[in-house]
């Protein structure tokens, strides 16, 4: 990829992760917080891919973005209305 394009994408993703991690502190709804956390993991995985760390990107995408989010969601569903 074009190096300047890649660094622009990296800066955009990093800024988005920073903003999302601040937002997740103030969100009242647990479901939104879980989805924002998953989004941060997905951005991290794309960032790892931009740094040519393919193994780490695969691991982050499968564990952080899919399985962790899923276990959080399932746990929230098990808790019912109590938050």
């Amino acid at each position: 990829m074009n190096p300047s394009l890649a660094s622009a994408l990296a800066v955009f993703l990093g800024g988005m992760m920073l903003a999302a991690s601040v937002v997740v502190l103030f969100v009242r709804d647990l479901l939104s917080a879980i989805i924002i956390t998953g989004m941060i993991s997905l951005s991290a995985s794309v960032l790892f891919l931009l740094m040519d760390a393919t193994d780490v990107a695969i691991t982050e995408a499968s564990i952080g973005a899919v399985l962790a989010t899923l276990i959080f969601l399932w746990g929230k569903g098990k808790m019912g209305g109590r938050e």
Partner: protein, 229 residues
């Protein structure tokens, strides 16, 4: 309100601390230290083309064993909590469409997972992502049926077997060459072939099966828990 202000204050202090570090950061274009050593000697030491797997499984194999133990205790405690406190609703019968998709999709997902796990010394992948992808195939099978699959009964045995395999492969090195998890207990073969790189493929297969059975066990526990609606 006070809580929000406190959180903002903590965030500001953290941001100030982080920005004060930025001028001291250096953009490095070359490797040095241990990284340079690994990059230089990795291929002839371990016979693994994928240097990341060589570092994770061979050079830092003991750390990986520690990670697997952490994951094991986490999975065990989740299963224990879920069996002690049955929460929430029990499973729902899947609809026709979901049931039939869940019959088609697990096969290619499992293929990808097995590729990641067994070819980790040749191409990107490894035991951890391979194992989690295997677990997601198991999850799909489970979502597509109205009960917990019969295969989930052998999950604890599978987990114990793969954990023991990892430990025994490490002890093999201790007994023959005097070093835990030594990669050269069997020859490293021709780099680039599937059967090469010493015990790296075996260890990542053990890690993959262990991670897969742990996560599948968590999912099965979630599925079984509850039902008292």
């Amino acid at each position: 309100m006070i809580r929000t202000l406190f959180v903002l204050l903590v965030l500001l202090v953290l941001a100030a601390a982080a920005t004060s570090v930025i001028p001291h950061l250096k953009m490095r274009t070359e490797l040095d230290g241990a990284g340079l050593e690994y990059a230089r000697r990795g291929l002839e030491d371990t016979g693994s083309i994928n240097l990341v797997t060589a570092v994770i499984v061979a050079y830092r194999g003991l750390d990986t064993l520690g990670e697997v133990v952490v994951l094991f205790s986490a999975a065990t405690s989740v299963m224990l909590i879920l069996s002690l406190f049955p929460l929430g609703r029990g499973p729902t019968d899947p609809s026709f469409i979901v049931a039939h998709t869940a019959r088609v999709l697990p096969a290619p997902i499992m293929l990808l997972a097995v590729y990641f796990t067994t070819h980790s010394h040749l191409s990107p992948g490894g035991g951890f992502p391979g194992g989690t992808i295997m677990a997601s195939a198991f999850l799909l099978v489970m979502l597509g049926s109205s009960s917990t699959p019969a295969g989930s009964k052998i999950l604890p045995a599978l987990e114990a077997l793969s954990g023991t395999t990892f430990g025994l492969l490490g002890l093999w090195g201790t007994m023959t060459l005097g070093q835990f998890l030594n990669n050269r207990v069997i020859g490293i073969g021709n780099p680039g072939y599937l059967v090469s790189a010493g015990i790296i493929p075996l260890v990542s297969l053990a890690i993959g099966v262990k991670v897969a059975s742990e996560f599948s066990g968590i999912f099965a526990a979630f599925r079984k828990s509850g039902g008292n609606r």
